[in-house]
């Protein structure tokens, strides 16, 4: 292990290891980050949600988008799996259906980066008790 000999050394060291803690730091204020929730119930996993989730984790990081990728249970849209819910800071969540790698890429490029909606959105047709708070 190399010794830390100056403030610059320490800062460099911090940059190297910071990402390891990013996930926890972002979770302090999730509302200020892009939140991606991949439906990972049995139907979701069967239709390939797992690689989609890995894609989001990897690509958000690679494209420098501060985001939180989590999994959720079945959202009920089993016909449209894999489904992904995206919540941009300050906006209502939007659910995308039939997400494959190509669509996932499009979602990042168009919706997450530009805020532009793309096809295949499943309209929100329910309220949760959380939203009534």
């Amino acid at each position: 292990m190399s010794q830390i000999k100056s403030l610059a050394d320490l800062k460099k060291k911090r940059e190297e290891i910071k990402t390891g803690l990013d996930l926890r730091v972002k979770a302090i204020d999730p509302e200020n980050h892009v939140q991606v929730k991949v439906a990972m119930a049995t139907c979701g996993i069967a239709s390939g949600a797992k690689p989609i989730m890995e894609f989001f984790v990897e690509q958000l990081d690679r494209r420098n988008i501060p985001g939180i990728v989590t999994q959720t249970g079945c959202m009920g849209y089993c016909f449209a799996e894999p489904t992904v819910e995206i919540k941009l800071p300050g906006k209502d969540p939007v659910v995308f259906g039939y997400v494959d790698l190509k669509r996932a890429d499009l979602i990042i490029e168009k919706y997450i980066k530009e805020g532009e909606l793309i096809d295949g959105i499943i309209p929100v047709n329910y309220e949760t008790i959380d939203s009534k708070e």
Binding site: K5, L7, G20, A39, A41, D61
Partner: protein, 597 residues
């Protein structure tokens, strides 16, 4: 490279540790391994989350799911349901004690909502045995900043401007203490960390050392730079084995990185830290006694002056600060005095950690800005009184403090307000009492503690407290007189004025404050020979209501001293001279015929 998309934080504080949180970690890791998820999910053993009431705690990030009272065998369910299927395990979620609803996200828990965590910022967030996680949270940046960019005078000025006051109990301004130590010239100086946490029910220092040991090491080095000391000593009680272990790990890691040792950050400043173990004597929390104990002498206080800042460890100038005081220093340096002094009240800046204990729903460790009211702490963060009982009093400041009552609930808490209300901040223990607590017994309990812990050096403390304790015993035995109450007060005031050190000077406080606030209870014990809370055994009488007794003989059979007599199917009687008030008969009676009067 493995890319974790989930972190499972498991509390590794002493409380959760003793409820097998280690086994939870092993089981989680085994389970993840079996499911092939080790490269996606990281399991981290952290420090205390503070919510000890419902430990062991497991928190899943990034969705902030907060599982309580987790057992090692729950690991499988958590992995299969939450990690793989994304469904929160409802049965392990925290339930709001009032609405009974589950709370999925720790952000919505009343316990955490009102808190502001500065000292506890990393507790329950990082792995305390990994220096990298501390560095990732800007650890050692403050030390780097002071060594590279500030003069010792600037550091002292910054701490003075921040308005921080020592968290050990008395509330002496930290910056001023440093300044005095820095002005005393000597070839050697010492930075001493007082980790001899002795108040019954207080465990904030232990939790900081267990959850974020590096913050204390960094602060000690900063202090060393400011006052010109090259040696740091942590006086820690040997009963804190986990904290000792984490400190040792932290010191070794910091040395390996060159953050402790010679020529830190390439400068001429050298600083290293060693541990000194205490045997757990309460008086050794007093700084002169602490220093004597470190020197291998008896843990007895000496008269100040000379203050440790002039003549401390081995007669050299020494600066003694409490753990909680030190843990805030790095943040004050990084964020600036003007950030810190905006938090809190006019004369008490920053936040304070309180250990909630007693008859309260959320027993645990909390941190709030100075000026938060007792009502907010007890009823909002603490979740109110257990079993829906009525709040009676809260004891702050441990055996040196006093009892505050309902009329103090809306007082903003800070050093001065607590003293004005007849109590003190102390180290921040808060013991909540409900209607079932007898206040005379409470005073007796705390006095028993100080009598036992008195070092015996000065007469007021050694003899006076003993006599106070005897008087209280007489009162709870029903042998007290009204004269005794006056004697209690007079003797308390004399002890306060004449004892040598802080222990003796504050030990009568529980007596005085209960006399002030609960005189009616004392009078009931003395005049009516009754204990209103029904706690004092010798003032209780078990009595059989003739109308309810059917003569089943159950009580007579269970009585261990044969105090109950009576024929089958006839009314029974209890002989009060024989009865030892064990309550066995009352428990046994199916007809509610036995009462305490």
């Amino acid at each position: 490279m493995s890319r974790y998309n989930m972190h499972i934080l498991v509390c590794g504080g002493t409380g959760c540790h003793s409820s097998q949180s280690d086994a939870i970690v092993w089981n989680l890791r085994d389970e993840l391994e079996a499911k092939g998820l080790t490269d996606q999910v990281q399991v981290i053993l952290t420090g205390c989350f503070g919510f000890c009431e419902k430990g062991p705690i497991v928190k899943v990030m990034p969705d902030n799911t907060f599982y309580v009272q987790v057992k090692p065998e729950d690991a499988q369910t958590i992995v299969e349901e939450h990690i793989i299927k994304g469904r929160k395990v409802t049965r392990l979620l925290y339930r709001d004690p009032e609405t009974k609803d589950t709370v999925g996200d720790s952000k919505h828990m009343g316990f955490f909502k009102k808190q502001l965590r500065i000292v506890l910022r990393n507790c329950g967030f990082i792995n305390p045995e990994n220096i990298d996680e501390y560095i990732a949270r800007e650890g050692y940046m403050a030390l780097g900043k002071v060594i590279s960019e500030m003069t010792p005078q600037q550091v002292i000025q910054e701490i003075k401007d921040s308005g921080q006051r020592g968290r050990g109990g008395a509330g002496f301004p930290t910056g001023l203490k440093w300044e005095i130590a820095s002005k005393n010239k000597s070839d050697e100086k010492y930075v001493v960390c007082n980790a001899d946490e002795g108040d019954p029910g207080a465990f904030m220092d232990r939790s900081v050392l267990e959850g974020d040991p590096h913050s204390v090491l960094e602060a000690m080095a900063i202090c060393g730079y400011a006052i010109g000391a090259a040696h740091g000593l942590i006086y820690i009680r040997a009963e804190y084995p986990l904290a000792v272990h984490r400190l040792k790990v932290a010191i070794a890691q910091a040395r390996e990185y060159g953050l402790l040792g010679k020529k830190i950050f390439g400068s001429d400043f050298s600083f290293d830290v060693d541990l000194r173990y205490g045997a757990g004597a309460f008086v050794c929390g007093e700084e002169t006694a602490l220093i004597h104990s470190m020197e291998g002498l008896r843990g007895e206080p000496t008269i100040k002056p000379p203050f440790p800042a002039e003549s401390g460890f081995k007669g050299k100038p020494s600066n003694v600060n409490n753990v909680e005081t030190l843990a805030a220093i790095p943040i004050i340096i990084l964020k600036g005095a003007n950030w810190y002094n905006k938090i809190g009240t006019e004369k008490s800046k920053g936040t304070k950690v309180f250990a909630l204990a007693g008859k309260i729903n959320n027993v645990g460790l909390i941190e709030v800005p100075m000026g938060t009211t007792l009502r907010e702490i007890i009823f909002e963060i603490g979740g109110g009184i257990r079993d829906g009982k009525k709040f009676k009093a809260v004891q702050t400041g441990g055996p040196s403090g006093g009892c505050l009552t309902e009329k103090h609930l809306d007082t903003p808490i800070d050093f001065d307000n607590l003293v004005a209300a007849g109590s003190m901040m102390g180290s921040g223990g808060m013991i909540v009492m409900d209607e079932d607590n007898c206040m005379v017994s409470v005073a007796k309990f705390f006095l028993e503690f100080t009598v036992e812990e008195s070092c015996g050096k000065c007469a007021p403390c050694r003899i006076g407290n003993k006599r106070l304790h005897e008087l209280l015993n007489q009162i709870t035995d029903g042998k007290g007189t009204m004269d005794d109450l006056n004697r209690l007060r007079n003797m308390s005031l004399v002890i306060k004025d004449s004892a040598l050190c802080g222990l003796g000077q504050t030990s009568p406080n529980p007596v005085l404050s209960t006399l002030d606030n609960f005189m009616d209870e004392y009078v009931a014990h003395v005049k009516d020979k009754k204990c209103p809370a029904g706690k004092c055994k010798n003032l209780m009488e078990y009595y059989i209501i003739p109308e309810n007794c059917v003569g089943c003989t159950a009580c007579a059979r269970v009585c261990p001293v044969n105090a109950i007599s009576g024929q089958r199917k006839e009314v029974h009687q209890i002989n009060p001279d024989v009865c030892i008030k064990c309550g066995a008969c009352k428990e046994k009676c199916k007809f509610d015929a036995i009462i305490i009067r």
